[in-house]
């Protein structure tokens, strides 16, 4: 109720002078405020930080590979728990508003359904950004501690962190798409399956090549291009070896993420626009 009041107040004050972008920003700001109040979020971030701290001790078992273990474990925990946050907060973004009936109050104002979705999406992306930054700082501090000072791995992990963040943005958009027409449980399951299949995309491509049937080959190839190619965002292992992705590669993956997110949000808006809440 507090969120809805805040949204409607912001929109009343901003409209009609500042327009669409201000409405989206108001919704995003409130989605961010709502997300950071969720205790589950704090617990997940804290757990990742604890894991990163524990990796210092786990590294003692690695025969001198403490730094590699810290980066592998820290960034892997960041990705995995980021996926959990993206899925479980993402599928609830729209569902909670519908369940509490607060969505009627929002749409009683001149707020488009697309603006609402985009605002919610951007709010969660901002939340994920803060979480990812906190976790990245945690990994950097662990490296500083183990190295007893500056560690050359620190600058190389941040491009990998950026790629992880882009992957989380993609998954959040997918979660939002599913939640626009499905129940939270099913949306979460479907999003998690997309995460898994997205990392198998290289295998999908090689499977298409080996199949005998033409129709099956077209189907698998179609799936390869339809589903998000998440393997491109996986740069944790090279980062642990001190390798950073090339600037051109980062730019291309960012562009892919931008295009794919635009497509998903447009599809979500299409579905959501046709939805009758009565």
């Amino acid at each position: 109720m507090e969120t809805t009041a805040a949204i409607t107040q912001s929109i009343t004050h901003t409209e009609p002078r500042q327009g669409k972008l201000w409405r989206i920003a108001a919704i995003a700001r409130n989605a961010f405020r709502e997300a950071v109040r969720d205790r589950v979020l704090y617990n997940l971030v804290l757990f990742v930080l604890l894991l990163t701290g524990a990796s210092i001790f786990i590294g003692e078992l690695s025969g001198g590979q403490e730094r590699k273990v810290i980066v592998d474990l820290g960034l892997s925990a960041m990705l995995l728990f980021g996926v959990f946050i993206a899925i479980f907060v993402g599928v609830g973004l729209v569902y909670k508003e519908i369940e509490r009936r607060t969505i009627y109050a929002v749409f009683s104002k001149p707020v488009g359904r697309g603006e609402f979705l985009v605002g919610k999406y951007l709010g969660l992306c901002l939340t994920l950004l803060v979480n990812v930054l906190v976790m990245g700082v945690g990994v950097s501090l662990a490296l500083l501690y183990v190295s007893g000072g500056w560690d050359p791995l620190i600058p190389t992990i941040w491009p990998a962190v950026l790629l992880i963040y882009m992957e989380l943005m993609l998954l959040t958009a997918v979660a939002l798409l599913f939640s626009s027409f499905s129940s939270p449980a099913l949306s979460a399951l479907l999003t998690f399956m997309v995460f898994i299949i997205g990392h198998f995309s290289a295998d999908l491509k090689s499977l298409a090549v080996t199949l005998g049937s033409t129709s099956a080959r077209y189907l698998i190839t179609g799936l390869y291009y339809l589903l998000p190619n998440l393997a491109n965002y996986s740069f944790i292992t090279p980062a642990a070896h001190g390798r950073a992705p090339a600037a051109g590669f980062v730019f291309a993956t960012a562009l892919y993420a931008l295009v794919y997110i635009a497509v998903i949000l447009a599809a979500a808006t299409l579905v959501f626009s046709r939805r009758n809440f009565k």
Binding site: I58, L61, S62, G63, G64, Q65, K68, V69, V71, D72, L73, S76, L79, L80, F195, I196, H199, F200, D203, L230, A231, Y233, S234, I236, T237, P238, A240, H241
Partner: protein
């Protein structure tokens, strides 16, 4: 109050029950540690969903723990002579770790040092896979050359060192090692060079310790050869081999060879040698850290 008592007494009872269960639990199956891995490297990599680096770390730590659990109860063991410990899972563990993360160089070094005494074909295969995945890592050629040298295949060792020497960043001694291996692969000076470079280059404490002990062993072999010459000279003069160190102690003192109170010369680790009385032969003390073989 009552609920608080329930919590305290309940926890105390649970702790007592755990202690009792610990005594009743059947001992762990000693063969369980050697059960075959149910995932090969390629399958593990496919299933890792981008977490392959972390999975590689896991298999690497498992490899170290696997060897550590076997050698913990064995005295005076060298990590390059573990054939008697039945380490049949070590090759699959290292293979999986390197398949999951082919750029992870430490498992290749471990495979080159520890595996040859257990399964030399796997040691060569894993190291060669490492070279294919890391063509600019000259140290992998050093490891492969070491395996061939251990197998007394000096020609292959020489070629391997030669290929490694061509890689940008390879130190000049790789080229020198190529020549030395071709000319004199079986000599102690070559062995000394190999273990010296291993000691200098390795970041693994266990590998450095092994190299250090092998260097002490080489020094000890030189010392014992010198002692045999002294025994031969003694036998020529006295008509018999010495029965105790006291008989030959003045010679050691004149040559400034460090000796203990009984006149026994000290090996490079500081332990006294053992004289085989009347046999003109000298052995290492069983408590010496220098490997016997």
């Amino acid at each position: 109050m009552a609920l608080g008592l329930v919590v305290v007494i309940g926890m105390a009872c649970a702790a007592l029950l755990v202690r009792r269960l610990d005594t009743l639990r059947p001992p762990p199956d000693p063969n369980a540690i050697d059960e075959s891995l149910y995932l090969d490297g390629k399958t593990a990599r496919r299933m890792s969903l981008g977490f392959n680096g972390l999975a590689a770390d896991w298999y690497w730590m498992r490899s170290l723990q696997y060897v550590g659990r076997k050698i913990i109860n064995v005295d005076n063991v060298q990590i390059d002579s573990l054939a008697r410990l039945n380490l049949k899972l070590l090759a699959p563990l290292l293979d999986t770790a390197t398949t999951l993360d082919p750029e992870f160089l430490d498992p290749y070094e471990y495979a080159a040092i520890v595996l040859p005494s257990i399964n030399v074909e796997e040691a060569i295969r894993i190291t060669k896979n490492g070279i294919d995945a890391n063509p600019n890592a000259w140290r992998l050629y050093q490891h492969l050359g070491y395996i061939y040298w251990q197998q007394q295949n000096y020609q292959a060792a020489s070629e391997t060192y030669g290929r490694g020497a061509q890689i940008a960043g390879a130190p000049p001694w790789m080229e020198a090692m190529k020549a030395k291996m071709a000319a004199d692969g079986g000599s102690r000076s070559t062995a000394r060079e190999i273990y010296t470079r291993m000691y200098e280059q390795s970041a693994d404490d266990k590998v450095r310790d092994m190299a250090r002990k092998r260097l002490l062993q080489l020094d000890s072999l030189d010392q014992r050869d010198a002692f045999r010459k002294l025994f031969a000279a003694y036998q020529t003069r006295m008509g018999k081999c010495p029965n105790s160190w006291k008989e030959i102690e003045p010679v050691f003192r004149a040559l400034r060879v460090p000796v203990d109170a009984s006149g026994a010369p000290l090996d490079p680790s500081g332990m006294p040698y053992v004289l085989r009385a009347g046999a003109c032969e000298v052995d290492l003390d069983p408590k010496s850290e220098i490997p016997a073989k």
